[in-house]
Subunit: 200 residues, 2 copies
């Protein structure tokens, strides 16, 4: 799962990225998505169209890049005092955000790009959140399933249902969480030391 | 989950659909996807571009419509003699097909369309296959998990991993199947009569 290197903050390249992203967000709020073009974005951002083509290749890649930045979590999962509570609170909020109009559009933008590195970034963001909840559980001396099991049994069904069917209900999401938290995996796998968990 | 009505076979509308679909498949094999346009498809299919615009709206909807037809299962799940064997054989083949280049492209086409009725059709196709395996299990007097559990715990993680990360390994897919087949749900839920299962 290749993930693009982060840019040096404050460098010229980072400034161009910031202004182009800002231009895309502004345009998406004010005009129809199908009317957004690279020349329009360039003009709004104060760069040349060729700067954008050189860096992003095409409009779809640029939209995916902007979407993934918006999907980057801006906070740690809420600490509710228990692993099950943390996972439930996180999963309910995640399902709600991802099934909103803007959430669906962001997922679609990320998946529409030929290059799947942005989709992998989203996967990595979510995994990190799950690792944080797992580490916190360990700190409290609670059991927690392996992160792969949480991805397969909580995250995957939420996203699959949003993309292919109807958004899962709150009860359904709670059922997924309850299920993975009482699975054999929780009891069978002893909490890992933080260092081992991080490198997994 | 709205699903478009099937067309009356042999009607004029069905003939137009068949020739346009055929034209799309031919063009996708011979030229770059980004070079495929509605005028080109119309010329290949022997219809006017406006026929295509009127019926499908835009290229993305047409590509989604073609993709969903290719994703329609053309056979029943293999009968291996046991529910677990049937589900395992189905899931391995599904993961292999969906993670291939053409499989990924079809999923992407289905999801890129604004109208999600095609995505829902894919969901319905897969659900039907799971119901068939469940009915067969019942005929043998075996337990089988509720179809929703199979969708969440086998189908969803396969598709999620293909879209957002790396394709799941055969071992991973087998683990998903083993897991859902030994879950509490299998033992707790008695086999339903075929009529009740079909309407569920």
């Amino acid at each position: 799962m290749a993930v693009k290197e982060n840019l040096r903050p404050g460098g010229r390249s980072a400034r161009v990225q910031a202004s182009v992203h800002e231009a895309v967000r502004t345009l998406l709020q004010s005009i129809e998505r199908t009317d957004v073009t690279i020349p329009l974005i360039a003009s709004e951002a104060g760069v040349t169209p060729s700067t954008i083509y050189r860096r992003w290749g095409d409009l779809q890649e640029l939209l995916a890049d902007v979407a993934v930045e918006r999907l980057r979590p801006d906070m740690q999962p809420v600490d509710t005092g228990s692993a099950k509570g943390d996972l439930e609170a996180w999963a309910e909020q995640y399902a709600e955000e991802m099934s909103s109009g803007i959430g669906r559009e962001m997922i679609r933008d990320v998946l529409a790009a030929q290059d799947n590195s942005n989709a992998c970034k989203c996967y990595a963001f979510t995994r990190e959140q799950m690792e944080l909840i797992g580490d916190r559980a360990q700190g409290r001396g609670e059991g927690f399933p392996p992160v792969d099991a949480v991805m397969d049994r909580v995250v995957a069904p939420i996203i699959y249902r949003i993309l292919f069917g109807d958004a899962p209900s709150t009860d359904h999401v709670r059922g997924l969480v309850a299920d993975v938290m009482r699975s054999e995996a929780v009891a069978a796998i002893p909490p890992l030391p933080v260092s081992a968990r991080k490198s997994g």
